[in-house]
């Protein structure tokens, strides 16, 4: 915890670290006939790392711009702390932001970029220099003060953008896909760093991304957004293990999907007819026997064994197939299995101790309570 000291100082020195609560009430934003944000309510707690996860066009960036004041909502209210900021322009809101492509000012040096928010607040030079030193050391940017943005590497630009977002001690920091333009290695490095800054500063971060891994790695809470509305909002483990809708099941994690018919419900489980077979699956919400259902189960929730292995598998679903391919990934391997109907499913498990050969008959099995079921 090399930065713990400077961090304490940050908390103490602030004249008032705001209560850092954001509230959105029934926000609606339309662009022409398209409703980009459709009656969204949201409360962000102090010190929370919140991820807005969704595919492009789901309205997540529009929501971030509404919070920043770069878009005016057509309906609803935005509250920062206990202030109604709905009608305020961006420059009166006191939020920090890290933009996609960083958006560093190309004609200003790294240091000039970072102190820009402080200059706009007309902070005294002494205080400005002090905070600049703090931000530079927090972001490990020492020695790069006088470089122009085009003389910095992608990771350095990212850190300058973060420093600029944090330096004015904003009520909250908005991050709009800040890692989208970095290469994979740098991205995973920055994921860890950004989370560390957030935890140290205890500042609420709202992080917009279409990348589920980023959201899962960094955040405490995730809202999955689709067509301008929240599909599900909750702790990240909850989102991952208990998807509330078919969309969430498809978007978060890697799942196999089976479409079948709900036959009956008994003993807290649903019987699904699938390709002339029957599977026991969790009961969908508002079950309608006879209705079409979708069963989604994550790659790693399936297990694979050589067939026939003579093991008793009561309480488990079983599917017979042949092994098509093994994609070795290091810690895990993906086993691709062709089922009787020609469809393929993927099983992810530790690669050790499973010396299966190509085209070998296998059994795919899993406990009956696993996975998630939805009416479609």
């Amino acid at each position: 915890m090399r930065n713990a000291g400077t961090c304490q100082q940050f908390v103490k020195a602030g004249t008032s670290v705001p209560d850092a609560v954001l509230k959105l009430q029934a926000i609606v934003k339309r662009f022409g006939t398209v409703t980009a944000v459709d009656r969204i309510d949201l409360t962000i707690e102090r010190g929370e790392f919140f991820a807005l996860l969704g595919p492009s066009g789901s309205g997540k960036t529009t929501m971030l711009r509404i919070i920043a004041g770069l878009e005016r909502p057509d309906e609803g209210g935005v509250f920062i702390g206990d202030r109604d900021v709905t009608a305020l322009p961006p420059y009166a809101r006191h939020v920090g932001m890290v933009f996609q492509n960083f958006l560093l000012f190309p004609h200003k040096t790294a240091a000039e970029n970072i102190v820009f928010p402080l200059r706009m607040q007309r902070l005294g030079r002494a205080e400005r220099d002090e905070r600049l030193a703090w931000a530079m050391s927090l972001m490990r940017l020492g020695g790069l003060e006088d470089r122009y943005p085009n003389e910095l590497s992608g990771g350095q630009q990212q850190r300058v953008a973060l420093a600029r977002g944090l330096i004015s001690r904003p009520a909250l920091l908005l991050l709009d896909e800040p890692l989208a333009n970095l290469d994979r290695e740098l991205r995973s490095e920055m994921e860890v760093e950004i989370r560390r800054y957030q935890k140290e500063l205890e500042l609420p971060f709202i992080y917009v991304t279409h990348n589920q891994e980023e959201a899962l790695t960094m955040s405490d809470r995730i809202a999955v957004m689709h067509n301008g509305a929240f599909e599900q909002i909750g702790a990240k483990t909850e989102i991952y293990t208990n998807p509330a809708t078919a969309f969430v099941a498809g978007f978060v994690g890697h799942s196999n999907r089976f479409e079948g018919k709900l036959v009956e419900i008994s003993g807290g489980l649903a019987r699904m007819a699938w390709q002339g077979d029957a599977m026991l699956v969790p009961v969908p919400r508002d079950p309608r026997p006879g209705g079409a259902i979708l069963f989604a189960i994550k790659f790693e929730d399936l297990e694979i064994a050589r067939a026939p292995d003579g093991v008793d598998r009561t309480g488990r679903n079983r599917l017979a197939g042949t092994l098509r391919d093994v994609i070795f990934k290091g810690q895990t391997a993906n086993y691709i299995v062709a089922l009787g109907d020609g469809s393929e499913i993927t099983i992810s498990s530790a690669p050790r101790g499973l010396d299966l050969r190509m085209s070998e008959p296998v059994i795919v099995h899993w406990p009956v309570a696993r996975g998630a079921t939805f009416h479609v």
Partner: protein, 271 residues
């Protein structure tokens, strides 16, 4: 296709290109050449003399005219650039179904003959404002086509500007004016300078609009025009050469500045 035939085709294209450049620049170089000639009526074989420039600098008429032309050019260029910058930013930033119309209305003055702009401003001054010809109205009238030209130049450059940069500045606490001065202007000033210089050249060289608005106040083009009555004097050639030199110098400076600017800051093309 043989290499030999291809070679002929390239040579033919080269000759054609040379002819086009000759067509474009022969009159200008003839004037410059003649201005240094001892005999302007038949300047061949070459015999050089600076007499024409001596005549030019001793005549007080040309001094006044030059001063007036500079004031006219600078004033009109400033006005055009300010109006065109506002217009271009407005057209680019505000999505509206009237956008096309707004853009068109900024450009249509280009298609109005200078003569008509001159006559109509003269008539407006005389009938409505009851004013004689004056420098202010000449500046304003020259800024009409000047604004259209400047608008075209600025618009062509500004489409590359990333307005998200202004969003960033605003989130970090800069109001609209601060944002323009701190962020937008430092990035776009080369194209504003380009528009300013073009506006200057247009107004500086203009005869029709200025003539109607200024009446007896001399400018370089109006003096050149007026002196035709007394025959082609050698100082006219010197004057034309000087004006050409100024214009070329402006273009040269503009090129170097833009070039320098791009090397130093540039648009964010490295990303």
């Amino acid at each position: 296709m043989t290499a030999k035939r291809l070679g002929w085709a390239v040579a033919a294209m080269g000759v054609l290109l040379a002819c086009i450049y000759l067509f474009l620049y022969a009159p200008i170089f003839y004037v410059i050449y003649t201005s240094f000639a001892a005999d302007i009526v038949w300047p061949f074989p070459p015999a050089f003399s600076m007499a024409a420039y001596g005549d030019l600098f001793t005549s007080s008429l040309y001094g006044d005219a030059l001063r007036n032309s500079l004031v006219l050019g600078l004033g009109s260029a400033l006005l055009s650039t300010v109006l065109a910058t506002g217009g271009a930013i407005g057209v680019l930033r505000h999505r509206s179904r009237w956008r096309g119309l707004a853009l068109g209305l900024f450009l249509t003055p280009l298609f109005v003959a200078d003569l008509l702009i001159g006559i109509s401003t003269l008539a407006f001054n005389a009938r409505v404002l009851d004013l004689p010809g004056n420098m202010y109205s000449a500046i304003a009238a020259n800024a009409i086509p000047g604004t259209s030209f400047a608008f075209l130049i600025i618009l062509a450059q500004l489409v590359r500007y990333d307005w998200a940069m202004d969003d960033a500045a605003m989130v970090f606490g800069a109001g609209p004016v601060r944002c323009f001065i701190e962020i937008t202007l430092p990035t776009i000033w080369p194209c504003l300078l380009g528009a300013f210089l073009i506006g200057f050249i247009l107004a500086f060289n203009n005869l029709e609009i200025s003539f109607y608005n200024l009446g007896a106040i001399p400018t370089l083009p109006s003096v050149a025009w007026g002196s035709l009555r007394f025959g082609l004097g050698p100082e006219l050639f010197a004057l034309a050469a000087m004006v050409n030199f100024i214009v070329f110098a402006i273009f040269g400076v503009m090129y170097l500045l833009m070039r320098y600017k791009i090397v130093r800051f540039g648009y964010r093309e490295t990303l």
